[in-house]
């Protein structure tokens, strides 16, 4: 690590102000950022810790029935507190990393980082969530812009994420054997207006919606409906743990399983 200052604001306004300092960087649970600092791969001059901001923590239901999660809410809290409100989302949160990771890591940190193998991006995109920052609201469909790339501006803070609650949903994660991130993860959510299917872990472009599966499932919500569909492995991640073709195949299998589990 290089040396840095730490700010611990108590409000979003103070946090936003602190983020104005030169080379400031937001610190959520530190599960991604701290290892990066230890490796000396980043050198912020000030870390703005968001986990002491009460208005950014917790799970609640909004007036229009959405589940709202504070940007600094830990995965563990979501797993616990969203269990009855949005079981598919809580289930996803309960399988991120290990207990230590879940008790530190935050939804805002995960979405800001947008790791191509992370779980939350699939839930946010698969639910058509809204990412709310200190300055604006961003629809999930506009938010994810490729591996480690998002619509966030420099210094912008995710304060809350709002999830429309589906009739049924499920997340199927096929773990990469070493990291246990998603080698392929598929989030399926069935809404009155149609089905959304979001895929993480697989594509070189990061999380994406599988529109063919959405169309098929919107007319027939069953695993059989996606059996005949296939994706090309061409633009899929190919690494030590699996080829693009394997990942493409897994997307189909995991989608079918998510539908079966959700239905």
């Amino acid at each position: 690590m290089y040396n840095f200052d730490v700010e611990r604001p108590g409000t979003v306004a103070d946090a936003a102000a602190a983020m104005g300092r030169e080379d400031a960087q937001a610190l959520g649970g530190g599960q991604t950022l701290i290892p990066t600092l230890k490796q000396r791969l980043a050198s912020p001059s000030v870390l703005v810790s968001l986990t002491g901001i009460a208005e950014m923590a917790g799970v609640c239901t909004t007036d229009d029935g959405q589940v709202a999660i504070g940007g600094a809410t830990t995965h563990g809290a979501v797993a616990r507190d969203a269990a009855s409100l949005y079981p598919g989302l809580a289930g996803l949160a309960s399988h991120i990393g290990d207990p230590a990771v879940r008790n530190r890591g935050t939804i805002g940190g995960s979405l800001a980082n947008n790791d191509p193998s992370a779980c939350y991006p699939a839930a946010a995109l698969g639910s058509g969530a809204t990412i709310i920052t200190n300055t604006r609201s961003i629809a999930a469909d506009d938010y994810f812009q490729g591996m480690f790339t998002t619509a966030l501006e420099e210094g912008e803070i995710i304060t809350e994420v709002r999830f429309p609650v589906p009739e049924v949903s499920d997340y199927q994660k096929f773990v990469q054997p070493a990291s246990r991130f998603a080698l392929v993860g598929v989030f399926v959510a069935k809404y009155a207006g149609g089905v959304r299917v979001a895929v993480t872990g697989a594509s070189n472009d990061g999380v994406f919606r599988w529109s063919e599966a959405e169309a098929a499932l919107s007319s027939d919500f069953s695993a059989d409906a996606v059996k005949g569909l296939s994706l090309s492995g061409d633009n899929m991640i190919s690494d030590l743990h699996g080829t693009g073709a394997y990942r493409a195949h897994l997307v189909g299998v995991m989608t079918g399983r998510a539908v079966t589990n959700a239905a």
């Binding site: 690590m1 490796q39 000396r40 096929f174 054997p177 070493a178 990291s179 080698l183 690494d239 030590l240 743990h241 699996g242 080829t243 394997y246 195949h249 897994l250 299998v253």
Partner: protein, 786 residues
């Protein structure tokens, strides 16, 4: 009735109290007043000429004490290799220089180029970033077969090629073996890879060098499995420090698995720099450094052929193996694919003709050396896989084929130079069939299939050789060291004992098991006995712990020393009791005169030894302390039979282990609980190799699996509840305890049964899959099914 103390009792591990309550004393816990820290600047290029290392900008940075480069070590010997292999033409292996810090060239990612000693680690790291290194890249030599092809880039310019040696074993058997293949009714051939592994002990390596200016004494604290070996190698060959001016201490060590046997540059550096800087110098490896500087394991590519006659008797075995040495020869690297591998190729079978060819190859990768099992897992894997394949080809039951070819008469001289003293392979296989409930497999397969899963059963046998010995033989085979073990038993005046052993415990439980043996011999409580190990200043010269040798060799030395103690104590008792020492009996800690009611307590005799008022001073020296060095006459040969049941998800290729049974014959067992624990750990590593672990390089020599994000370690939920049995016991005939060694068995015996089981599962679904290279990741299994 299970015993509650002494040999055969599952005494709880006394050392665990300190390990589990944070009271251990590991090398990183050692901080010496005034110590400085070293940061090694390591190569991020696999192969290149080191044109310039400019430290000028770094020299004046805050906290910097001194910066070292390869030039500072030109006058110093290189890192030594402890085993010389002679090739099939009678020529010695090619042995490259191995500098402490890279000089002239860098040869693998992670090789240290410069070392910065500074007041703090952060300062050392800051300064290292200011060092400018110019490297002209050379093509990386990664693939072993390409490395030994004509015109290949050379890893070492001063060697004739990248071939370290081309070893034939037994060369005199070659013609007869080839002939047997010509006459065979059936030949089964298999090409396979034994995947490269990283040992990953929980505690990374640490070295602290200290130098006493007043006396000129050096001390090195290090994470080692064998401090005396480090003292000898580093003192005699690298730094030229005589043993009496060098103390090496390996305190509590958090796992070794082989990778802490070897002498590493960082140890030599810290010892050297402590004097050069006149300050203690400390290095603690980061996990990232461990991946690219701890010696790796395995990494063989093999073609094996098995010849059978018309009755399915094995008639000959022939192998060709490429063994990766990495960029330099680590301490015992040459011995692993040869004497620890070729000698085991007979396995549990009476194959009359065997020829093993091994080509050891230099590549631009981290040096490869012994890792739990070392050579024996590679031998077992090939043999037990090819037998399984043969059974399939011949459409015979794989267990029956094994049974038919078992060695059944002992002692048995194999065609690969070793003689098995005892064993009962039929008994272990019978036991396996019983407790693994193999007859119930078909029903379990049906139940799995009803859930859409493929179920497979894999069985294999193994034999291994532990307690490598005797010294005069291994000397002929190229060892540059003896392989005895030592113990000093010191009895204190009030009757307590200290055993100073040359063995070293880094998790094995010596502090518990060794006292169990002595407690039985004397008839006193285990708590009266303490084990001291790991410090060259207070233990006799010993060879340390690896190759499952501690109890068989080190324990035997301890028994011999204790026998001397008892013999002397009997003389003292005889004198006091006015009887001949031949008439003195020792039982339950009491000396008595046979046929009388005259007796003396153990403590009375030990006190007399140190307060020799009524004592035969003319005939006997006072005191009660004895040392023994024990050099065994043969290896020990633990053996067993393992069964693995897997489920394969046909849609994803994911393998789960549903059941695993290990039946081992370890001879006599001192502490069954510790033995079970050793088998559990070995199985975790063997299953880890079979399903998960994969140390992979890309074609440029970059380590792809350089962290736990990509290197998959086995975790608790990857593993089943094992069934472990060691009730089949054929005691070793040539050590006083009748023990064989249990530390490596699990890692040696488990990979083939896992792979056999997966192949069986896929075959059950009509897939024409005869082999999949480890690790059997979901992606590989799925690809094999397509």
């Amino acid at each position: 009735m299970p015993k509650d103390s002494g040999i055969g009792a599952s005494t709880k591990r006394r050392e665990d109290v300190r390990f589990l309550t944070g009271a251990g004393n590991y090398t990183d816990d050692i901080n010496i007043r005034g110590q400085a820290h070293v940061y090694f600047l390591r190569s991020d290029v696999a192969h290149g000429t080191l044109d310039n290392v400019d430290t000028s900008a770094a020299e004046g940075m805050p906290g910097v004490v001194k910066i070292f480069t390869g030039a500072d070590f030109e006058a110093v010997g290189g890192m030594p290799c402890g085993w010389q292999v002679t090739d099939k033409h009678g020529e010695p292996m090619q042995e490259p220089k191995h500098p402490v810090l890279a000089h002239g060239k860098v040869r693998h990612v992670g090789e240290p180029i410069a070392a910065v000693v500074a007041d703090t680690l952060a300062q050392a790291r800051d300064a290292a970033e200011a060092i400018v290194v110019d490297i002209s890249d050379l093509p990386a030599v990664i693939d072993m077969k390409a490395a030994v092809s004509d015109g290949a880039t050379k890893v070492h310019d001063d060697l004739t090629s990248n071939l370290c040696y081309d070893w034939g074993f037994v060369e005199e058997n070659k013609a007869a073996t080839d002939e047997a293949f010509d006459k065979a009714a059936h030949v089964t051939t298999l090409e396979l890879v034994n995947n490269r592994l990283v040992a990953n002990p929980m505690e990374p390596r640490v070295a602290v060098g200290d130098y006493a200016r007043g006396t000129g004494d050096h001390t090195l604290y290090t994470t080692s499995q064998n401090p005396h070996v480090i003292r000898l190698l580093m003192g005699a060959f690298v730094l030229g420090i005589p043993e009496h001016k060098l103390r090496v201490v390996a305190p509590d060590v958090g796992g070794g698995f082989g990778t802490k046997i070897f002498h590493y540059q960082e140890e030599a550096f810290c010892t050297f720099a402590a004097k050069a800087c006149n300050r203690p110098v400390k290095w603690t490896s980061s996990r990232t450094e461990a991946f690219m500087s701890d010696a790796h394991g395995r990494d063989h590519v093999t073609r094996i052929e098995l010849a059978l006659d018309a009755e399915n008797n094995f008639t000959a075995l022939r192998t060709e193996t490429y063994a990766n040495m990495g960029a330099y020869l680590s301490t015992f690297a040459p011995s692993v694919p040869t004497w620890l591998h070729g000698t085991l190729m007979a396995g549990n079978y009476k194959t009359p003709l065997i020829y093993v060819n091994v080509k050891a190859v230099f590549t631009n990768t981290v040096p490869v050396d012994a890792y739990r099992g070392a050579g024996r897992p590679e031998a077992t894997f090939q043999l037990e896989r090819v037998i399984d394949k043969a059974a399939r080809e011949l459409k015979v039951d794989p267990i029956a084929l094994r049974r038919q070819n078992f060695v059944t008469e002992f002692p048995y001289a194999t065609p690969v130079a070793v003689e098995y003293d005892t064993g009962d392979y039929v008994a272990t296989m019978d036991k396996l069939e019983e407790i693994a409930d193999l007859s119930g497999f078909d029903a379990r397969r049906k139940a799995s299939e009803a859930r859409g899963m493929l179920r497979g059963l894999g069985v294999n046998c193994y034999i291994e050789a532990c307690g490598i010995a005797p010294s005069n033989l291994v000397g002929q085979l190229g060892a540059r060291a003896g392989l005895y073990e030592s113990a000093t038993v010191r009895v204190n005046a009030t009757g307590g004992l200290v055993v100073m052993t040359g063995s070293h415990s880094h998790g094995q439980g010596h502090e518990t098991a060794f006292p169990q043996v002595i407690a039985d011999m004397i008839g006193i409580d285990e708590s009266m006995i303490e084990v001291v190990h790991g410090d060259t200043a207070n233990t006799p010269m010993g060879m340390g712990t690896y190759g499952s040798r501690s109890l068989a060799v080190g324990g035997s030395a301890m028994v011999r020393a204790t026998e001397k103690i008892i013999a002397k104590a009997k003389k003292i008792a005889g004198h006091i009791l006015e009887a001949s020492d031949e008439d003195i009996e020792l039982k339950d800690g009491t000396f008595s005169v046979a046929g009388t009611d005259k007796s003396l307590a153990w403590g009375d005799v030990t006190l007399a030894a140190y307060v020799p008022h009524n004592y035969p001073l003319e005939d006997l020296e006072p005191g009660l302390e004895e040392t023994a060095f024990y050099d065994p006459s043969n290896f020990t040969y633990p053996a067993g039979a393992y069964a693995c049941e897997v489920e394969v998800d046909p849609e994803t290729g994911k393998v789960t282990i549903e059941a695993f049974t290990a039946v081992d014959d370890f001879g006599n067992v001192v502490n069954p609980m510790i033995v079970t624990g050793q088998v559990h750990g070995g199985l975790a590593q063997g299953i880890g190799q079979a399903l998960l672990e994969n140390c992979a390089y890309d074609e440029n020599g970059q380590l792809l699996s350089a962290s736990y994000m990509d290197y998959a370690m086995p975790r608790a939920d990857d593993l089943p509840f094992y069934q472990v049995d060691h009730s089949c016991q054929t005691p070793c005939t040539h050590n006083p305890l009748g023990v064989k060694g249990c530390g490596e068995a699990g890692a040696i015996g488990s990979p083939p049964s896992v792979v056999n089981a997966v192949v069986d599962a896929l075959q059950s679904a009509g897939k024409d899959v005869t082999h999949i290279d480890m690790p059997l990741s979901p992606a590989r299994v799925w690809a094999a099914m397509q």
